[in-house]
Symmetry: C2
């Protein structure tokens, strides 16, 4: 198995990317990596870490794409950038199975959508980040921003892709799938949600448990939530923001009284664990489901451990044949007419 | 000033509603209330509390509308319910200025939309709940669920109505208005957001500060966030859910070790304050902006203090002439053509 690692574009690039990849090949004997970035810098980092392994290749592409680059311009003009070069390798090199990048999301989605074929039958690739639930489990949110406007059958595909993903990457059995809505009753929401509800109810290969209100996301009662990319983005970011802001407030309030400070001293380890628990980077990156080659988008501020989680995630998806399973699940849901049209 | 109080439909009905109203008239000498519910029960509660005040009227309407009632059926068939009776009083009695209800949201919105005229120029009434920010302030979210599908000029009106509301009810000066989006740049999001951005930028009478990502809601950098009712609902509920689940988890973790329990003992007061801080009921109810008579929807589980906050809120909106100000702000934004059409 071979993964392309885009070594630039993250806050801790390229060290975190290189080190995460190295941990990955040490863990998985059948994994090799292609490190894409500034060749000289990559060599220096590897040298420092004493890495001499034939499973590490280097491809020189020193340009960086940032969030300020317009995706279409970046794709056209920044061919020497590590991200566009990585996408090209993914597209052209048949021996490459997947890619991990912590670079600019917009350009990554645009480049992947334009350059990498989709899994057969998939209408639109979609993002599926993973959040920790308060009962110690995880929950996936699909789509979280790749598709701002969606149709009911796109939501159906998000449910299928997300289910196969949770099975392959996290060994979740029969993932419980919910539709994000403004109430739990079947007839709630707009036409899109009502039609999606009807469709999800009769979709084979998924375990649809009904509508879910945003309030319930972290309860542990759901494994996957499907939604349009706009509200999915709002959902993930507000969970993240609220947790961070609340922990920040608690920290501030502790300093308001000597007594609280003494109490907090006893609870120091616990608070540190809560913070780690809410740190999404520990749960791997956001996966672009539906792309024929596995693409994991790590958090821009990810460190070595976060990067390593992304590499692990990509490894499991490929090793457990996620994409062929997505293709056959989707084929099973196509009507005869749709099958004819595909031919 | 006269307010109708729907005394049924809440978890703590009718005591919380009656007591909240009584606190209200004791605070405001120019306020009188009409308590709508089961006359016998209301009389008993008032008797017990020793309330004999000519500013308290009672209207008998013992029926209750629950979340299980279909709004259209409830409006048509449950005319003896406290909620529909309250709406009728609001509509027919010119001396009544506003209403507070903790009953079923769906029926309240439907009944208010059908029966109560809108403020001149307003296209659609919209909900605006208030959330506490981590810097000790508040932030309004408009719309939070009354309008699942919206247009750019509806978003513009939400910005205008929300601004006048924050000024009248919370004395916020020049409320900073943001558009909820999936990124901060002007061109982010779908056509709806891009068009709304252009419109908000040139809207007089509001202080538009650009796009906001859901992550930033509680930072204290914004006073009002405008959005479609679907993503607004997701936003409010995920903030609420995350805060509650996180505090619940911390509480559970405390019990995992003796040391943490000792620490928590010292911090008991602080934790209680955090919980109170995140208790949205303390900040008043969700207001249905754009209705010609003020309508405040209190939380179903609200207690006496929550109910009193709702009464206060309604009082301030009416006393500070919120609705006439909304009407003139909206008129100022109409084009000449629209003004002609209105005539």
């Amino acid at each position: 198995m071979k993964l392309v690692i885009d070594c630039l574009g993250g806050d801790n690039s390229p060290e975190a990317q290189i080190e995460g990849a190295v941990i990955g090949i040490r863990k998985h004997a059948d994994l090799s990596v292609v490190l894409v970035g500034d060749e000289g810098v990559i060599k220096t980092v590897l040298e420092k870490r004493g890495v001499h392994d034939s499973r590490v290749e280097i491809v020189h592409a020193p340009g960086v794409i940032t969030g300020n680059d317009k995706p279409t311009d970046a794709i056209r003009l920044k061919k020497d950038s590590s991200m566009i070069k990585s996408i090209s390798l993914l597209r052209e090199d048949e021996s490459v199975d997947g890619m991990v990048s912590c670079g600019a999301t917009g350009t990554l989605v645009a480049a992947a959508t334009l350059r990498i074929p989709r899994v057969e039958g998939v209408r639109r690739p979609s993002f599926c980040p993973i959040l920790p639930t308060m009962t110690g489990g995880i929950v996936g949110v699909c789509d979280s921003g790749a598709n701002v406007e969606v149709t009911p059958d796109m939501l159906q595909q998000f449910a299928i892709m997300g289910s196969r993903y949770l099975e392959a990457a996290y060994r979740v059995r029969k993932p419980r799938v919910a539709l994000l809505n403004i109430g739990v009753e079947e007839e709630k929401g707009d036409d899109l949600r009502r039609e999606a509800y009807r469709l999800l109810k009769k979709t084979e290969g998924i375990t649809f448990v009904g509508n879910m209100e945003a309030r319930e996301l972290l309860t542990g009662d759901y494994d996957l939530v499907v939604c349009d990319g706009f509200s999915g983005n709002v959902l993930c970011k507000s969970v993240e923001g609220t947790a961070l802001e609340l922990l920040k407030k608690i920290k501030k309030d502790i300093y308001s009284k000597k007594k609280y400070q003494m109490g907090a001293l006893l609870m120091k380890k616990m608070f540190k664990e809560e913070k780690e628990f809410m740190n999404y980077q520990n749960y791997g990156g956001s996966v672009l489901l539906g792309s024929e080659k596995v693409i994991v988008k790590g958090h821009g501020s990810g460190d070595r451990a976060a990067m390593r989680a992304c590499v692990d995630q990509a490894y499991r998806m490929i090793r457990n044949n996620m994409n062929p399973k997505i293709a056959s699940s989707i084929a099973a849901c196509l009507t005869e007419e749709e099958k004819q049209n595909q031919k």
